[in-house]
């Protein structure tokens, strides 16, 4: 059975999954060409 601490950990994880790290968090601040991720049509080149 999961311990009480496991439930606490799962709760904390659940809360922090609401504000996941964003790729730009690990990148230098882009003042001119910032990332503006958005869904583009699947038939566009994706990478």
């Amino acid at each position: 059975p999961l311990t009480k601490n496991c439930f606490f950990q799962s709760q904390m994880l659940e809360a922090s999954s609401q504000h996941m790290p964003h790729p730009s968090d690990s990148e230098r601040l882009r003042l001119y060409f910032p990332r503006n991720l958005c869904p583009t049509p699947s038939y566009y080149p994706q990478s």
Binding site: Q9, M12, L13, H19, L29
Partner: protein, 518 residues
């Protein structure tokens, strides 16, 4: 913290000053001009007078920076996450630059000790503020400011500069220490950012490629074990809510990059990883066990009449960088084990073996899994050495009638189904790429199947192999070779057993594997 009166105001004033100077066009290359002026201001304010004051200054500064971020998060006039981030990074990046410059310029240019000591201090302070914030705010805790400070500080200290390159291993060590302190079990609210930091491309490159003689591999292995330990209870209990699934899937991605780019790293540390990954977490374990050295070309396991014992690598022992022998405790048990291996005495050793491995009567928790894993690998490696000192190589003929095989056969017969499952898992965890361990344990598993005195033993050997084969790829080479031998070689009369046909799905599975073999 009994901060001296006025220190909070001084710190706030200095921090604000620095942020403005950092962003000012006259800050100069890498803010060095601004830094020269600012250090003078810190001196005037007496901040650099004592170690204690410097420590307080960094704690207060870290708290102020994170506080500013929490205010930005809650500021409703800022709907855009991008704008909130820009606002936070405006201050955090300036603070990181200040730390970087203080580390780079503390002490003489070639006095790396003061630099590293200061870095350890600052990382420890940021970690302390994070843990306190994590406990205080609980589910309101936000990882962003701490993630930003750690990653930008790491990237700044990874710049290609002479003064930094001379302390690069110590910098890695300092960050690994900090990440170990902040491991997911200790700060679950920081777990996603933690894995992002641990798997950042620059961090991977520094830890696994650029540091000479693989000196950082052990530190990196420890960080992965920290993650596996955190996931273990959830995976073992198959409690996979979305937030755990996300972390599990992210960990799989990181392991895939390691399997593709650094298979030798996974080969060297597979033992420690499999010791903490729960037995039912099959695909992740298969992924680790599938790693093989890049120079090696594996023969197709389905090759008809594959002569495994003629492969050149099959007599070479793989590197196992975990000291598994030291994990066989207590000392008198290890002494009796060595004595039995050498002289088959004390004769009571075998009858007491099971009780030495059992830790409770709680179903599913009865056995000390790391002890079983260590015992199996230790006895197996002793057996291989023993066989090789006689000028022979492990084979179905040379592994029998030995104290080592006595121990394995005793475990196969004497353990209950749970213990035997764990014991057989420990053996199967050694079925990897062509090496002497893979060959010895493959022969051992097949020998235990052939010599089994009950069908339950044969059924559980089949179960342990099958559950590893039915999961999605990758599959370790040694696992495939062993299973193919089991179902093809008529000596084992595999197809006669009732458990082969216990259900349509199972029968279909065996038939499909058999067809791919034939």
């Amino acid at each position: 913290y009994d901060d001296p009166p006025g220190l909070h105001e001084k710190t706030e004033y200095l921090l604000r000053e620095w942020v403005n100077m950092y962003h000012n066009a006259s800050a100069g290359r890498d803010s060095t001009k601004a830094f020269t002026m600012f250090v003078h201001q810190m001196n005037v304010q007496g901040i650099l007078k004592t170690d204690d004051l410097i420590t307080r200054f960094f704690r207060l500064s870290t708290e102020m920076c994170t506080e500013l971020c929490y205010r930005a998060f809650s500021d409703q006039s800022n709907p855009s996450p991008s704008l909130v981030r820009a606002k936070c990074f405006h201050t955090l990046d300036a603070y990181v630059r200040l730390i970087t410059l203080l580390v780079k310029h503390s002490g003489d240019a070639n006095n790396s000790l003061t630099k590293i000591n200061l870095l350890h201090k600052v990382l420890g302070i940021v970690a302390g503020v994070l843990l306190r914030d994590h406990d205080f705010r609980s589910t309101e805790f936000q990882q962003l400011p701490y993630h930003r400070i750690f990653i930008m500080l790491f990237l700044e200290l990874s710049a290609p500069e002479q003064v930094l390159e001379s302390i690069s291993v110590q910098v890695l060590n300092a960050f690994c220490n900090t990440l170990h302190i902040l491991q997911p079990s200790k700060a679950p609210g920081f777990a996603y950012a933690w894995l992002e930091l641990v798997s950042h491309r620059v961090f991977l490159g520094k830890m696994l490629v650029l540091t000479p003689q693989q000196r950082a591999w052990g530190m990196y292995a420890q960080l992965l074990i920290d993650m596996f330990k955190f996931l273990a209870p959830f995976l073992r209990n198959v409690e996979l809510p979305k937030q755990i699934q996300l972390l599990y899937k992210g960990t799989l991605r990181v392991l895939l990059v390691l399997l593709h780019d650094f298979p030798e790293f996974l080969c060297d540390y597979h033992y420690g990883f499999c010791d903490v990954i729960p037995p039912n977490c099959i695909q992740m374990r298969n992924l680790i066990l599938s790693a093989f050295p890049r120079h090696m070309r594996l023969p197709d396991p389905f090759t008809p009449n594959l002569k495994v014992d003629l492969l050149p690598e099959i007599t070479q022992a793989p590197r196992v960088l975990t000291n598994f022998a030291s994990m066989i405790q207590p000392a008198n048990f290890k002494k009796d084990l060595d004595s039995y291996i050498n002289s088959r005495s004390p004769v009571t050793f075998l009858s007491e073996l099971r009780s030495n491995l059992q830790v409770s009567n709680e179903p599913g928790m009865r056995y000390n899994i790391p002890l079983i894993n260590a015992l199996v690998l230790y006895v197996g490696t002793q057996a291989i050495s023993h066989i090789q000192t006689k000028g022979q190589a492990p084979s179905m003929g040379t592994i029998t009638h030995s104290s080592h095989m006595d121990i394995f056969q005793n475990l196969a017969v004497d353990l209950d189904t749970e213990g035997r499952y764990l014991f057989l898992n420990a053996i199967t965890n050694q079925l990897r790429y062509p090496n002497s361990h893979t060959h010895y344990f493959s022969c051992t598993l097949l020998y235990l199947f052939a010599e089994a005195n009950t069908e339950a033993i044969q059924e559980q050997i089949t179960r342990v192999l099958l559950e590893r084969l039915i999961v999605n790829r990758p599959h370790p080479w040694g696992l495939l070779v062993t299973f193919i031998e089991l179902i093809k070689n008529p000596t084992f009369k595999f197809w006669n057993h009732e458990f082969v046909r216990c259900a349509p799905e199972i029968e279909k599975l065996f038939d499909s594997v058999a067809r791919s073999c034939m």
